[in-house]
Each structure stands twice: as C-alpha cells, then as structure tokens.
C-alpha cells in the first residue's frame, strides 16, 4: 500500500497535505483500490464550507457509492474540476493529479487529530486483517 510520509490520514481513508493555512484533501491509495474503477465524483463548489467529520461529497465506482468525510473544517478555496470529466485520475494518481479539494482551515489544530503515515498503515492493516 502506498501512503506518503508527508501526509496525514483519516480513518475514512482521506489524506491531507498541509501548506500554511491550506489543506489539500484527497482519498488514499487504499480507498481507490478498494473502490475499483471510479466513474463519478461530486464535491462542494468553491466558497462553500466543509465541517470536520461531515460528509462533503461522494466518490462512486461502477458498483458503489462512497462518502468522503472532511478531515478538517474550513472554506473550499479550490476544487479539482478535472475529475468531473476524468474521474479515473483518482485510480491513476490519487496523491497527485487526483486531489479533490483545497480548504482554508478554520482551525488548523484539527490536523493534530489525524493519523500520520505509520499510524495509518497500521490502521489499514488492522482493518483488513
């Protein structure tokens, strides 16, 4: 399983990359692999707010709908619109071109609640055991 060491992770298999006050959010390699062929995404628009632990959108494979949960709270400052036309990017490059949202964090301390790489890998190992 691929999980970069410079990201933080949720139990719902989202990742967060923090740069200053802005958090880039995506889904993990484990999540995309479990879902299979991703064919549809739906996210809030720029300027909307997301709340930590609340569902902010969905990623759908041919077979299933999967909710995405916000790892942090804040205002959406950028949305990866290219995923609307090319949702398969999430399967191909979930940590790069397949990012979902950029959020201006309202409470950067929320990051401390998230798992680091080691914790996340252990979490997935336990969950799939």
């Amino acid at each position: 399983m691929n999980a970069p060491d410079d990201l933080r992770y949720t139990k719902e298999h989202e990742w967060v990359k923090v740069e200053g006050n802005v958090a880039t959010i995506g889904i993990t390699d484990h999540a995309q692999s479990q879902l299979g062929d991703i064919v549809y995404v739906e996210f809030p628009g720029q300027g909307e707010t997301v709340t930590k632990s609340d569902s902010f959108g969905v990623v759908e494979s041919v077979k299933a709908v999967s909710d995405c949960y916000a790892p942090v709270s804040g205002k959406v400052v950028e949305v990866n619109d290219s995923l609307t036309d090319s949702p398969e990017t999430l399967n191909e490059d979930c940590y790069g071109e397949g990012w979902l949202l950029r959020v201006e964090m309202s409470d950067p301390a929320e990051i401390e609640d998230l798992m680091d790489q080691k914790q996340y890998i252990a979490f997935v190992a336990e969950e799939t055991a």
Partner: protein
Amino acid sequence: MPRKTPLYDEHVRLGARIVDFAGWEMPVQYTGVIDEHRAVRAAAGLFDVSHMGQLEITGPGATEAVQYLTTNDVRKMTDGRAQYSILCNERGTVVDDIIVYRFSPTRYMLVVNASNAAKDFAWCRSHLKGNAAIRDKSDEYALIAFQGPLAAKILSNFTDYDLPSMISYHFGEGKVAGKSAIIARTGYTGEDGFEIFTAPADAVHVWQALLEKGKGMGVAPAGLGARDTLRMEMKYSLYGHEITEETNPLESGLGWVVKLDTPDDFIGKAALVDVKKKGLSRALVGFKMQDSGIPRQGYPIIVAGKQAGIVTSGTMSPSLEYAIGIGFVPRESSALGTEISVDIRGRARKATIVETPFYRKKTV
C-alpha cells in the same frame, strides 16, 4: 462460514477481489469491472457461476410438476431446450427467476439463483405435484459461463459437439476439454455464449483450457461486478432488484414468460389473472440520466414534482459511457421519452425514459 466454489483457488491466483455473495466467496472483479465488461463485449469473458443452484425434477409426472411450479409453458418444450421462467407464490409475486432445462419429458433441471437456492428447493419440494421427485443437485455441478462474440469459436476447439447447430436456449451433453459437460447456449450478458455445467472436479481443467486458449484473443475472467453491469445494459432483471416477493412478473416486464392462456394451472396464476384484469399500476422502465449523478437501487423517482417510483438498479454504463437506471414508475408516466427525475442525495436530477436494451450489439 461462506462456501467456496471449485474455482476459488483460480480466482485467488488470478488476483480477484473476493466478496461474500449469497453465502459464497465469489470474485467481484479481477483487473477491474470496466475492463472485464469490455472484454465480454469485444471478445469473451469467463464467469464462475458455480454458486447457482440446480434442482432436478424427475418422474412420470415431471412435466406436470414443472408446469405447476413455473409460469411459462413447459409443454411447449422439447428435449434439449431451455426456457426462461418464473417461480411465483400464490400472491403472484416472484419467488425466483430460473431457467428450466428439459432432458426428457420425465427429467428437468431448474437452474436457480444462489441467493434463493435453499428457499427454491424447499418451495418446489413442498409444492411438488403428482408423480415426481425433486433433488437438489447443486453440489454435483460447477458452472462456467463463457460469454462473448468469440465464445463459440474458442469453445469449438474444445468440444466435439456440433456447436453451430445449437441455437440460443438449446443445450446438449458432450465433452469440453475432454470432460463430460452439459453445454447450454444461454447467458446473462446480451452476448452470444454458453453456460457449461461440469463435475466440480473438472471445473478447473475446463476453466484453464478456455482461458489459456482465449488469452491471446482478448478473453478475460470476469467477476460479479461485470456480470451486473452487462445485465443492466440489457435491462435483464436481477432477483432482489427488479423482481422480489413484493413485485409481480407482469409489472416487471416479464409477461412474455407468464402464460395465462394455457389450460394448465400454476402457482400464482389466479392472482396474476386478477392483476391483469385490474390493470397494472406501475411499469418497469429503463432511463438515461440527463443531469450528472448515478442512479442506485432505492433512490426515489420523481414525476411531475412528486415521488412516484423507485430505482431498482443503476450504474455508469461501461459500453455507453453514461449513467443508466432501471426502475418502477406509474404506468401513465412510463412512455418512451417521458422526463423523470431521480432524487440523488436530496437533489432532483433529470432523466429520460428510453428504449431498452440500453445496449445493442453493433451489427457489421
């Protein structure tokens, strides 16, 4: 403990993701649903459907017994014919959809859904009429579906059976890759293809032979995921979705296998005659999404601003590359071209009722 088919180790070796389906550990996908779906449409796919049940009804009264259990007209069958049919209960709703195979007037086999196999056996046994016996032969068969435009050509390398003479919904007994098999020209994908019944011990040999030969021609193993998207593109019913014990076969568009005009009785006939007389209140339709979003089972269908129906199945169609759905709508709103909406996560998304099957084979 979930059960394993004789092909389980093959699936694992091929890298399948295994899921629990109807109490069986089954491959949902190998490389990916879309790839597998396209392999079936372009070349051929191999499906393990050994989890399905086989019930054998034999005896001097077998024809009468099957005629009473099923909605279609068994008396029209000849030896070596297969017939799509329905088991109904007295209320005229669906116990299961099945395929009936006639070996002789005194020997029939019913192939039933895995999820209903135990229920169907109990149902048929307790409603078995006249001089006939029923046996659950599910453990005596493995079942491989080999489906796609290249299936006949590839299979002909492995059998002495005269495949070109076998037309759709016929079957015969012969050898496949040296093993005794029942070969039926049936399937659930909309493609030409076969369902091959073998002894459990022979399944791996037959599976490997077909896959090895077909690999260079685009043949791939295909899982339950592709099986579902392929059947949805054809608007074929799936038990638990389009047909249930709460739906009757007439409203699900299966009137063509419900023969109310024969002199024979069958379980549910009186109820269905009544349903037909009163007229149907809803119809099962296929629709294409106009707005974004994928319809899924259970989503409400909205007609003229009011919730009026329900989605039974939906997906992003791998062949058509747009979202399609199947669902019940009021009869008066079921005409082709009718604009409906599907409530997807609280928002009404536009869709149009379209002709089905959604997918039609290119005829070149």
